[in-house]
């Protein structure tokens, strides 16, 4: 089948890519752009490991054809750190033990970022609700929820960081 030329912005960088009709956004990110932070956990929209933010909303990249991303603005986990410094959210995942095998972590962090962008002061139940599309087999979710709430608290306390904006990591 003939390839199609599409334009997509990923983590602020513009790309023109030739994609097959059957390729998914997930394949575009991992195979065309070597952005392997976004994981394929199930390939059918059940686990959330492939979560990216597309035009401002968290979505499963395995359920979107690459061609459908033509003209879209995508943020992946690789787009969260700035100049090698982890975002507050990422740092809290590390500090609070929210990462074990790490396979769910990119999806978790990206979904959490989308949450905090919309709701900078979520309740625990808001966090659990927002993350209900992200499965974790290791942690039992407790520390993940703690990390998101802690990150939210820090971001709110320090206005210069801004809600959901990548900033200096804090111990």
């Amino acid at each position: 089948m003939k390839k199609m030329l599409i334009s997509v912005t990923v983590n602020g960088d513009s790309h023109e890519l030739a994609v097959h009709p059957h390729e998914r956004l997930l394949d575009l990110l991992r195979d065309h752009l070597d952005l392997t932070g976004t994981k394929e956990g199930c390939g059918e929209g059940e686990c959330g490991a492939c979560t990216v933010i597309m035009d401002g909303a968290p979505v499963n990249a395995c359920l979107i054809l690459a061609a459908q991303a033509d003209g879209a603005d995508i943020l992946t986990v690789e787009g969260l750190a700035k100049d090698g410094t982890l975002s507050v959210l990422q740092q809290k995942f590390v500090d609070l033990g929210a990462v074990q095998c790490g396979f769910c972590s990119p999806g978790m962090v990206v979904t959490a970022k989308a949450l905090l962008d919309e709701n900078p002061d979520p309740s625990e139940s808001d966090v659990r609700d927002a993350l209900s599309g992200n499965l974790c087999r290791c942690t039992g979710y407790e520390k993940i929820v703690d990390a998101v709430l802690e990150a939210a608290r820090i971001i709110m306390e320090i206005p210069s960081i801004g809600a959901g904006v990548e900033g200096e990591s804090h111990a």
Binding site: V59, L65, A67, D129
Partner: protein
């Protein structure tokens, strides 16, 4: 998956034409069902017709007496719409209950009903609120009463080349209160084994209108009219609620499948119709 051609028409006319010309072409809305079916080989179309480049299919518009919801309105948009929350609470609740945030951001109300699963979340609320399906095809525009839109599991009344473009609902009576409940095993990312939308309108302490719409317990979602009739004319008492719930359960024709047994589903109809009516009796939803 088998290779297919991808087409992204800019107009409805072009989309309908492509569906007519390409034998076995499938329309693509949110992709949360289609991409799964493609992956599993459940469908192997020669072409996929992406509807997302057609403008105007995802708007929610209100006139004085009608609300029109574009077929490509996402579940998230449905959940967050003030008009839907206020006028059709059962629909807002139903939309929120399906999938998860990532899925809801892509899944569309049109896709939900055209996929025509007996357990489609938006179907009982649309039945409850007297929805009409607006279709466009090679022969022009067609209005299909929602009661006639779903014809069987996975099957709708759409003709070849026809697309669902919108759902139209009359603005309900201001005293109509409705809600939606579902029995599911997991708290999220699960398909209900029973889903129920109920609506009650009272006039001077007596039930003037009752709607009990059941999903997942018959080939298509339906209204339990005998159960509804038991509620009319009197106050919404605990006794009447129990009777209506029992009648609703008696009307159900569920199957045993991977999700549940028929017997359990029947029992859950009774439990969840009762819960939903109790919630309305206690002054819930709207």
């Amino acid at each position: 998956m088998r290779a297919f051609e991808y087409q992204a028409p800019a107009s409805l006319d072009e989309a309908c034409r492509l569906l007519v010309e390409n034998e076995g072409a499938v329309p693509l809305a949110g992709g949360t069902d289609v991409l799964v079916f493609l992956r599993h080989g459940k469908i192997a179309p020669a072409a996929v017709v992406d509807l997302n480049r057609i403008s105007g299919l995802d708007a929610i518009e209100m006139t004085e007496d009608t609300v029109t919801i574009g077929a490509l309105t996402s579940m998230t948009a449905l959940t967050r719409s003030d008009a839907v929350q206020r006028l059709f609470p059962s629909l807002a609740i139903a939309a929120k209950s399906m999938g998860c945030w990532q899925v809801r951001n892509r899944a569309t109300v049109g896709g939900n009903i055209c996929n025509a699963s007996p357990s489609a979340d938006t179907a009982p609320p649309l039945l409850l609120h007297d929805a009409k399906a607006i279709a466009m095809g090679p022969d022009g525009r067609r209005e299909i009463d929602f009661t006639a839109f779903l014809v069987g599991p996975g099957s709708t009344a759409l003709a070849k080349g026809e697309l669902l473009v919108a759902i139209q609902l009359p603005v309900p009576h201001p005293d109509m209160r409705s809600t939606y409940v579902r029995r599911q095993i997991r708290r999220s990312m699960d398909i209900p084994l029973v889903n129920v939308a109920v609506g009650i309108r009272e006039e001077e302490g007596a039930v003037a209108e009752a709607r009990i719409c059941l999903g997942a317990v018959a080939p298509i979602p339906y209204r339990a009219t005998e159960a509804e009739a038991l509620l009319l004319g009197g106050p919404l008492t605990a006794e009447h609620i129990v009777q209506a719930a029992a009648a609703a359960a008696a009307s159900a024709r569920p199957i045993t499948d991977i999700r549940s047994s028929a017997a359990y589903r029947t029992e859950m109809v009774q439990v969840f119709v009762k819960r939903a009516l109790q919630a309305l009796a206690e002054g819930g939803a709207q």
